[in-house]
């Protein structure tokens, strides 16, 4: 059951000039989070900016076994993300959640390939933790502009995740899009080993990953980012064109039916 809390900012760690990790004391929300779910947050109490913004839950934080809060991975791009970048410990923000349909966490013998582009890394920390609990062999394919845009690599390694990195400028890992090493891995993978692919990042990247997965006959789930009004199914703003059977594509609300979709059902050419 989603809750709306006035969450205290515990810490705000700037990872670079654009990226930060914001830790919120929101245990009642955090303890319900499943991998891939999101929260609607609003820093500030005024009317401008007015609406909340959706954010994937990055980490669920624990003190021993007790859940203490959650974190958000933020990239400074617009008004709200600039405010989130500038928050200091003790500040409060509204945090409503958890919301949305989570990833389906696979079980062995299936392997998990998580494919992240930029801030699309956000849903994969909680997914990696859930996969680890189930002893699923997991690889993270992670792309960014340059080495300084790749974060939390040690944390993923500590969770037993194998890393394959790519940067636009070649400063770390393979030079080029993350789909370059991914395509190679698809070709090299043993046909008999079942693999489930999870992707989050720019739309063009998720589309390319979905096409690769289809070519190689692998299951794929994508976490889509769409402009959202309410996060609760009230406004019909965040629709995604989806085709689940024959007949025309349907526009479905990504806050309720997503943000996680079977990549094969998304009608990418209509997604804009």
């Amino acid at each position: 059951m989603p809750l709306d809390v006035d969450a205290v900012v515990v810490s705000n760690t700037h990872l670079s000039n654009d990226y930060n990790v914001l830790v919120l004391a929101a245990p009642a929300v955090a303890s319900q989070v499943q991998p891939g779910q999101f929260v609607m947050v609003k820093p500030g109490v005024g009317d401008d900016p007015l609406l909340r913004r959706p954010f994937s839950v990055f980490e669920v934080l624990r003190d021993d076994a007790r859940v203490t809060g959650l974190s958000l991975l933020n990239k400074r791009v617009g008004v709200t993300t600039r405010m989130l970048f500038a928050l200091t410990p003790g500040d409060r923000i509204r945090c409503l959640g958890p919301l949305g349909r989570p990833f389906s966490v696979t079980e062995p013998p299936e392997r998990a390939w998580m494919v992240a582009g930029g801030v699309g890394l956000a849903p994969f920390a909680t997914l990696a933790a859930a996969l680890r609990e189930r002893n699923v062999k997991t690889t993270l394919f992670y792309g960014g502009r340059s080495a300084t845009d790749l974060f939390h690599l040690d944390e993923f390694r500590q969770r037993g995740v194998s890393l394959t990195l790519a940067t636009d400028d070649g400063s770390r890992g393979v030079q080029g899009n993350v789909t370059v090493p991914l395509a190679r891995a698809f070709c090299d993978a043993d046909r008999a080993t079942p693999i489930r692919v999870y992707a989050c990042g720019p739309t063009a990247m998720m589309r390319a990953v979905t096409e690769l997965a289809a070519t190689h006959g692998r299951a794929i789930e994508v976490s889509l980012e769409q402009v959202m009004g309410c996060g609760l199914g009230g406004c019909y703003s965040c629709v995604i064109p989806v085709q689940r059977d024959s007949g025309p594509a349907r526009l479905v609300r990504s806050c309720l039916d997503g943000p996680v979709f079977d990549g094969g059902t998304v009608v990418w050419e209509q997604l804009g």
Partner: protein, 314 residues
């Protein structure tokens, strides 16, 4: 002192004057886990045509200073599926249901109204002649006095339910539209729907909405909406449901004092889905503080003695 928040409007009894605005609360059932729907004055559901509609492609909303533009395009399941699937749930939750009805033609409005007249659990029909972002129907009727009269009369003929036309603010003299609605048999009017508006991405020189234009809602429109409620109240003897940018009890009070018997809250519900309790508490406090026993003691009590109103439209 105990106060009575209930109001009667157009033959409807509402527990309190706070109604969820159409298009901002889905079909109501989406919120049933979060909010006790029976504690709202009413629920105005998403606009319904006869058949299902897909609406406009995304991008459907964009935020603007203290407001937002939307061009949803009235995506919906159609009135028959609504009656079969949603209405029974709304009744079970104890909601007072106001059904927002749409049509591309006058016949379609009448057909939708007729179907709802046969259904159990419909409190009133809010006739949407004011949607600013669809090609046929909507504002096309609401921007013409004759269109307004024709739609309202056609709906009036086929229903026993209260008929509440929802007026557009995209006209010069909204009070004349309230008068036209009254003459055609309306029981009340609701106003305002959104203001036709536009936002442009200057880097790409493309409109920010896929539909190019959309409707502006939220706090940015509130003062204009209050003025329009005031004008209707002064000119026409017909109950009013007021709305436009209500975020707090104080905002709602402006509408009530200007002459609205009930109010709707749309965009604010996106920001705070738990707003309803706060509005009820705030109104109770206000009435107690001012020694008023009922909401109707407050409706239309604007004091403009010694103030000249100069209409600038001529």
């Amino acid at each position: 002192m105990s106060v009575d928040l209930s109001v009667d409007i157009a033959g409807l009894h509402l527990r309190n004057p706070f109604i969820a605005a159409s298009g901002c609360f889905g079909y109501g059932v989406e919120y049933a886990d979060l909010v006790d729907l029976s504690t709202l004055g009413g629920v105005a559901v998403k606009g319904l045509f006869l058949d299902a509609r897909e609406g406009h492609p995304p991008t459907r909303i964009v935020e603007t200073p203290s407001g937002m533009l939307n061009a949803i395009g009235l995506q919906g399941i159609g009135v028959r599926r609504f009656v079969a699937e949603k209405l029974p749930l709304l009744r079970a939750h104890g909601a007072v249901v106001i059904v927002n009805i749409c049509g591309s033609t006058i016949d379609e409005y009448a057909e939708v109204a007729r179907i709802l007249d046969d259904a159990d659990g419909v409190g009133a029909l809010e006739v949407n002649i004011s949607c600013p972002n669809i090609k046929k129907g909507g504002m096309m009727f609401g921007c013409s006095l004759q269109g307004t009269r024709d739609v309202v009369a056609a709906v009036r003929r086929v229903t026993r339910r209260p008929v509440i036309p929802k007026l557009t603010p995209n006209v010069t003299d909204v009070a004349s539209f309230a008068a036209a609605a009254r003459d055609a048999g309306a029981d009340a009017v609701s106003l305002v729907n959104t203001f036709l508006a536009m936002a442009i991405d200057v880097e790409t020189r493309r409109p920010k909405l896929s539909n190019v234009v959309g409707g502006l809602s939220g706090p940015a429109i509130r003062p204009i909406a209050v003025r329009m409620v005031h004008e209707c109240r002064q000119a026409v003897d017909l109950p009013i449901i007021g709305m436009g940018g209500i975020m707090t009890t104080g905002d709602a009070l402006e509408f009530i004092i200007a002459g609205a018997t009930a109010v709707q809250v749309g965009t604010a519900n996106f920001v705070d889905p738990f707003i309803w309790n706060k509005l009820v508490t705030g109104l109770t406090d206000y009435l107690q503080r001012h020694g008023l026993a009922t909401v109707s003691d407050l409706v239309g009590t604007l004091d403009i003695t010694d103030r000249d109103t100069v209409w600038t439209s001529s």
